[in-house]
Symmetry: C2
Subunit: 327 residues, 2 copies
Amino acid sequence: MAVTIRDVARRAHVSVATVSRALTSPELVRPETRSRVLAAATELGYQPNRAARGLITGKTGNIGIVVPDLDNPFFTGVLKAVQARAVQADYAVFVADSDEDPVTEAKLVHAMAKQVDGVVLCAPGLEDAQIHEVAGATSLVLLNRRLPGVPAALMDSAGGMHAVVDHLVALGHHRIAYLNGPRTSWSNQERRRGLMKAVAKHGVDLADLGPFAPRYEGGLQAADLAVAAGTTAIVAYNDIMALGVLARLRDRGISVPGDVSVTGFDDLTYASLCSPALTTVAMPVAQAGRTAVNLLLDWLDSDHSEAPQIVAETQLIVRGTTAPPRE
Amino acid sequence: MAVTIRDVARRAHVSVATVSRALTSPELVRPETRSRVLAAATELGYQPNRAARGLITGKTGNIGIVVPDLDNPFFTGVLKAVQARAVQADYAVFVADSDEDPVTEAKLVHAMAKQVDGVVLCAPGLEDAQIHEVAGATSLVLLNRRLPGVPAALMDSAGGMHAVVDHLVALGHHRIAYLNGPRTSWSNQERRRGLMKAVAKHGVDLADLGPFAPRYEGGLQAADLAVAAGTTAIVAYNDIMALGVLARLRDRGISVPGDVSVTGFDDLTYASLCSPALTTVAMPVAQAGRTAVNLLLDWLDSDHSEAPQIVAETQLIVRGTTAPPRE
DNA sequence: CTTCGCGGCGAAAACGTTTACGGCAAGTTC
DNA sequence: GAACTTGCCGTAAACGTTTTCGCCGCGAAG
């Protein structure tokens, strides 16, 4: 059915070995025969069978990516970048969705392990030990999770959150509410860490609320608690929660940013589309995705002596939901 | 390094053939030896090498999906469903992003062809002939594109658009603007087809505007044209354009739905989050993704005699941006 | 007692590559 | 002119499976 290396060999009047050499290490064959082989290959539309090649070389030419939720624009943003960088490097990419479940997460990377040269694991919910365990099955690069000994592409959420507080304090806010996401989430811990540092530095009052579900409904629920706490600024764990907060405040007739300021996190597209547009911090998802596959590729032909962790800068995007407090 | 079928054979004191049989066609070995093999396999943590298996069986156990844009929630919605259905059927999925470019589209499915058993091609920009051509390289299922001879999972956009017009007419609108997306896009043609049918049926006035870029900016641009045309209802090609329209109308002090009604298409998450919430039509993306995989799987072990085209129903979601016209 | 059938299993070929090894001619060095 | 190198290429082994073929032993049938 398909055209194999043998067909090319016959047509070019050489052996299969020569065909293989002409394609993978051109300097090993005489230019004349090489061009004869290349011609035969293109005429027949020959494409090497990667599975067969992988069987002998041990490399598959594939990488995998497992994300917690393909409906989350944050992860599809990194997926898009990962895919783009991968094809650039002539790799194909497997994708898997763990549905936020740590055990399927582990199962998925194990299943991928024999078919890929490595996998980038996005914001895993796994325990540290379990991550080390799956790292034994294949080469691993983490994204948005730091773990000694395994390479990681990170984003400076802590710094972004620090910038949020700086911004709020500069506007004159003294009493701030933070709406926690899931306590166990590394992202929430990082964001909270940056927040705490800035809060301590500026000596502002903090209402540390939650945890809440990192969703629209979580924001609805959290908004009332935040106003009850008498704060003038609400810092949400992420954009979706912030949108919930905005909706709830509007329903209660509380004006934003007049009565209270609100910030999100992630800079999803709709953050800029609602009105007032949401002040938030942009995550360098594309950049992180690219560096994740760069790290993976480097890792694959290195001595594994060091496991670099590269952190990309976040950026505060000031829009319409933050302003100086009243009076 | 990895544990192979030979290791299992040794440990179970049988031949490799028996191990293979015990795992793939259990009825061919005596229960006693089968359990001995299974025990050895799990003790060693053996997982068959799919590449090697594929080499001989001709099946890879993989499917591919190529989408025009991984940043588009519409496509990631179908991707999520495709992935879920695929793992259910014990398939792994390759993903590729064509960046809306027909030639990379074709290139990508060709590149995938030898590594997958089939691919689902989402809303391709390719010409009909070119689609037939790539269909020669591997088994193909289309999503949101109809083409005789190749199986397809479709969504009834035309019906959805018809429902939109019915809704608007029922509210009392007589003069409607349609904001076209890209003329060559199959989706736009379908949506316009449904619109035209309903317009003819109800005998309403139509301002057929555009084409516009199917983006926020396209909506900004289109809004002014629509009001200049003196229409009382604006039907946008999709949600993102509709959001642009809403923003532009708000800037100009034109009230929605007081002065003019607006509808979107796709029901992206933020359609329900902005205010007023957008009246739109929900696309059954998950369902379409699932049936696409089902079609592919069926196609793989059938005689290819018929190429079914399954269309899933859309649903009009009436929210806050539509109301009876003034006076 | 032969023959046949059959369940269970092993030996080996096959899938499409890459690569170690060796051969052969031509050139280089003494 | 013998002995080495060197460049180019073919032969064959190997990768980890599945599957065809055939062998062996055993019970049933003649």
